[in-house]
């Protein structure tokens, strides 16, 4: 059987023009599909950056909250009630909001502000410069050194700025695991200072961060928070909720889907047509093989192998090309929002298998219908 597959391989790759066209078609399609899906995965991951960076086990919020950035303040009693729920190890408040920062040169820059619980500083970033206790100093802020860092004029420890006519000073430079989606720099301060400096509605707690005593307590906590009229989600559930919002409530999901489907159709068209032409051009040869004694299933195996080999090679090249593009993009822009996930690879793989199956189906039909007698008549 290996000899027959080797024969199929030689017939395929020795036809360099067709093989190249097939590979280019599938590689291009896979590249586009994986690139689209990777960008979407990157966007979804960035949209939950705060959730990943703060890394709390459970998040209590207003039920209307759809994304981590669009918060709805909760009254202080929610924090007290949550702390009193059986099974809660601890619970702390988190402030999350946006502000306009006035820089020393007089320009304004939007920034994301996170106010950490004054007592525990839970969710604090990893510091590159400065000490975490300096956050308790007067007007103290810690800036995150991410790709948006330069928008604050590349501040150093001691750099001053204004937030709502309040003086602010950088006391530390930090790093976080994941950058945000919206292209604005991030500042950390204490919860109380955030409440004082930033314009607030009546209620100021954006989230209550909860650590359950045991995993089994999660259900009870959720139930009792719900009884309060609020929503408690695990970290994973919150990430899913944010992802669902971007997938289904914005145009991003549908646009990515359309682009992915278009890539699939382009790949299918190019590969299907090229493979069909390849089979047509070799039809007489397949007929000759049939006349010589090749069985139909052997010819089918040859075609499936040719389609499968091309598809898998194109898949590998497409994924490699995508990885290369993302790597190159990150050289220029380190936080380029695209990430190749196993789900993306699996989805693209399924699509490539479908392309190969449809392309080979047409070829198989043709080859099964060819009568060896036609070879004599020709």
């Amino acid at each position: 059987m290996r000899g027959i597959l080797q024969l199929a391989y030689k017939l395929l790759v020795n036809d360099k023009a067709k093989f190249t066209a097939l590979l280019v078609g599938i590689t291009f399609a896979v590249f586009l599909m994986v690139q689209m899906l990777s960008m979407f995965a990157g966007i979804l991951s960035r949209s939950s950056a705060t959730v990943f960076n703060v890394n709390a086990s459970m998040w209590v919020m207003d039920p209307s909250v759809q994304t981590v950035a669009n918060t709805i303040g909760m009254p202080d009693y929610v924090l007290d009630v949550v702390r009193s729920i059986e099974g809660v190890n601890w619970a702390v408040p988190l402030y999350s909001g946006g502000a306009l920062v006035k820089l020393s040169d007089g320009t304004f820059q939007s920034a994301s502000i996170l106010g950490l619980d004054d007592t525990s500083l839970f969710g604090r970033p990893q510091l590159l410069q400065g000490r975490i206790e300096d956050i308790y100093g007067e007007n103290a802020f810690i800036v995150v050194k991410d790709p948006e860092f330069s928008k604050l004029g590349n501040p150093q420890v001691g750099t001053e700025f204004q937030v709502n006519d309040h003086r602010g000073v950088i006391v530390g430079i930090a790093t976080v695991n994941s950058s945000g989606l919206f292209g604005v720099p991030t500042l950390y301060t204490t919860y109380d200072r955030a409440r004082q400096y930033l314009p607030n509605p009546r209620f100021t707690i954006s989230y209550v961060l909860v650590e359950p005593k045991r995993p089994a307590d999660v259900a009870r906590i959720k139930q009792q928070v719900e009884a309060l009229g609020y929503l408690a989600l695990t970290k994973a559930e919150f990430v899913d909720r944010i992802s669902a919002f971007y997938k289904y409530q914005t145009g991003i999901g549908i646009n990515i889907l359309i682009m992915t489907v278009m890539s699939f159709i382009v790949g299918l068209s190019i590969s299907g047509q090229t493979f069909y032409t390849f089979v047509l051009e070799n039809l007489e040869k397949f007929g000759a093989l049939k006349a010589m004694g090749a069985k139909s299933r052997e010819l089918i195996l040859m075609i499936l192998f040719q389609a499968g080999f091309t598809a898998m090679t194109g898949y590998g090249l497409g994924v490699g090309l995508c990885a290369l593009m993302i790597t190159l993009a990150r050289v220029r822009r380190p936080d380029y929002a695209a990430m190749i996930t196993f789900q993306n690879l699996a989805l693209a793989f399924v699509m490539v298998v479908i392309i190969a199956a449809i392309s080979s189906y047409v070829g198989v039909r043709k080859v099964l219908r060819i009568e060896p007698f036609e070879i004599f008549r020709a």
Binding site: L7, M292, G293, P372
Partner: protein, 232 residues
């Protein structure tokens, strides 16, 4: 009396249905023997190629029977029929049908590969057959780099690589000039034909009639006569 290689009895074949039906073979009966080079000759459309296809197991007749070495081939399943063609029949097609993307040696090795032989072993054995037809030195070239006569010899090497009992040649001189065609068929008679092999040739090239052991004439789907050819 040599043993019978092929026996056809009252073979009927038609194409199309209703008013469009054309009868290609009308109750054709013949015997072909081992050790003979049997020609089937006649004008275009007389049914020569159809008869060859029926005898070699690639076109099912609508009536009659065909036995090869005593076995009725049209009673076989499609897989068994394919195996029969692979092991018993060697084909030399009119247009050769060599694979342009394979080397000459790889082309010759195809029947061996179809017999599930190892690739390298098949190529090595193909060299033996290329040697027989005098083309061993051209083994690495693709067929398109060879002349028409050389391509014909490659097709012959491929046909005999499976060591078939019956060699079928369809218009072997049609694409060749007179001298080359004669030389090729003469080569086949001298080097390929033996007492354990039967060669069937369809042709309307009178220049090679002298090489036949026996000639069957066809006209309008019927065998109309038989004559003995030149000496073996």
């Amino acid at each position: 009396m040599p043993a019978s290689a092929i026996t056809a009895t009252n073979v009927v074949k038609w194409f199309g249905e209703g008013d469009a039906r054309t009868t290609a073979l009308r109750e054709v009966s013949l015997d072909a023997y081992f050790g003979e080079m049997l020609y089937i000759v006649g004008p275009s459309g007389s049914g020569k190629t159809t008869l060859l296809s029926v005898l070699s197991g690639i076109l099912r007749p609508d009536g009659g029977s065909v036995s090869v070495e005593g076995a009725r081939i049209w009673d076989l399943s499609s897989d068994a029929l394919a195996d029969f063609r692979l092991h018993k029949i060697g084909f030399v097609f009119q247009d050769y049908h060599l694979f342009p993307r394979l080397s000459t040696a790889e082309n010759v090795a195809i029947p061996l590969i179809l017999k599930r032989r190892n690739w390298k072993e098949s190529i090595d054995e193909a060299m033996t057959y290329l040697d027989i037809v005098g083309l061993k030195s051209r083994a690495e070239l693709p067929p398109v780099k060879l002349s028409g006569g050389e391509q014909q010899r490659v097709a012959i090497a491929r046909a005999i690589a499976g060591q078939p009992d019956i060699l079928i040649m369809d218009e072997p001189t049609a694409s060749l000039d007179g001298d080359t065609g004669h030389a090729i068929v003469s080569f086949v008679k001298t080097h390929i034909l033996n007492d354990k092999r039967c060669i069937l040739i369809v042709t309307h090239d009178a220049r090679i009639y002298e090489l036949a052991t026996r000639i069957l004439k066809m006209e309008d789907g019927r065998l109309t006569g038989s004559e003995t050819g030149g000496p073996r």
